[in-house]
Amino acid sequence: MNATEKTVAEIIEDVCSQVRVSEGDGDTPLKDLGVDSLDVAGIFLAFQEKLGVRVPDDEIDALNTVRLIAAYLDARR
């Protein structure tokens, strides 16, 4: 994982206490990691607060892996 992917993974683990993201989970769908629809709201709020990037509602569904989220954030910071 690159630096942004690690940050994304840390935020996910921080928001979802039951979720663990390991090195090889970059392309694993968040749902398979145990992230549910309510967690998604919390995670994307954390991205907004900690990284200053607000993701529009209609773009969230497509951002369903750590790698996709990290690439999205890198392109907008």
Binding site: D36, L38, A41, G42, L45, D57
Partner: protein
């Protein structure tokens, strides 16, 4: 000073189990229990309406603290789902049903999940300004009237209930501080469109998770009270997830942030009094902070002490 003397509630026996809708909505037991926190949503009967829920709550109050209806001089109903189309106002319907006197003031307050805190401030101030001695603050917002049963965002959350809070000079619980907030520009996040409730869950979550902790912190600072000196934080019971999120963001111990959604769901303006009813007579609880938030977007917090 007028204080809160007693609370009674009515949760209709009818309900819909969320466990029976696992397949329809793709739910897991873990999600229902740990995230929604709602096992079933209560539903009023076909013959019941908003005022009828209030009247039943009043009957239950009579069993706890007998209140001659003729001695009630202020009757407030907080609802956004009134009887019929809102004319006459639901408080007048309740007034007629319980047999209150003609000298009793009766009016409705149109607010959602912040309504109980607002309602307390309005009723207490109105009573004190006009020398009234015995007041009833009702909450009843049966969302079953407007919830689309196939809408996962709302059908799993909202339940029907009514509460009544008795306000009078010997009420031991006194309101110390209130704070209010409104974000009307984002009001579309929770709205009634042509008779159907619509909720943008993410927008409501973001609002709640950011606005409420700030207001709670401000209220505590204004009152000069440390969070550790508050016995209970009674948050609007939106969902288990939002209650847990608020506790986490405010660094509050779970034991001080009770949650009672499981048996009826999110009952809008009734959720805080339904929760406070459990503790109002508990001698170990002497200071509570309440915070309601939702429709508007609107939020309100207050500190009560005895």
């Amino acid at each position: 000073m007028i204080g809160l003397h007693a609370i009674a509630s009515y949760v209709p026996e009818g309900s819909i189990s969320n466990y029976d809708r696992r397949e329809q909505f793709g739910l897991t037991d873990e999600f229902i229990a740990a995230k929604l926190g709602v096992s079933k949503v209560s539903r009023m009967g076909a013959q019941e309406d908003t005022a009828a829920l209030c009247v039943e709550a009043f009957r239950r109050l009579q069993r706890k603290r007998p209140v001659p209806a003729g001695e009630v001089d202020c009757l407030v109903v907080c609802t956004q789902n009134p009887d019929g189309h809102g004319i006459p106002h639901t408080s007048a319907v309740v007034h007629g049903e319980i047999g209150a006197s003609e000298r009793c003031a009766a009016f409705d307050v149109s607010l959602g999940c912040s309504g109980y805190v607002y309602g307390l401030s309005i009723a207490l101030a109105f009573m004190q300004a006009n020398g009234l001695r015995q007041g009833l603050l009702f909450t009843a917002d049966p969302y079953s009237k407007i919830v689309d049963p196939d809408d996962k965002n709302t059908a799993l959350l909202f339940g029907d209930a009514a509460t009544v809070t008795l306000l009078r000079p010997d009420g031991p619980w006194l309101a110390r501080e209130f704070l209010f907030g409104t974000r009307g520009k984002e009001g579309a996040a929770l709205n009634n469109r042509a008779g159907r409730l619509e909720m943008n869950g993410r927008a409501v979550f973001n609002f709640s998770a950011t606005a409420v902790p700030g207001q709670v912190a401000q209220l505590l600072a204004r009152a000069g009270v440390a969070a550790g000196d508050v016995d209970l934080f009674l948050f609007h019971q939106g969902s288990r997830y939002i209650v847990d999120t608020l506790a986490r963001r405010l660094a509050l111990p779970a034991a001080k942030v009770p949650c009672n959604l499981a048996e009826q769901g999110n009952t809008v303006s009734s959720s805080i009094p339904l929760l406070f009813e459990r503790y109002i007579d508990d001698p170990a609880v002497r200071r509570v902070l309440m915070s309601g938030f939702g429709v508007g977007l609107s939020w309100a917090s207050c500190l009560l002490e005895r």
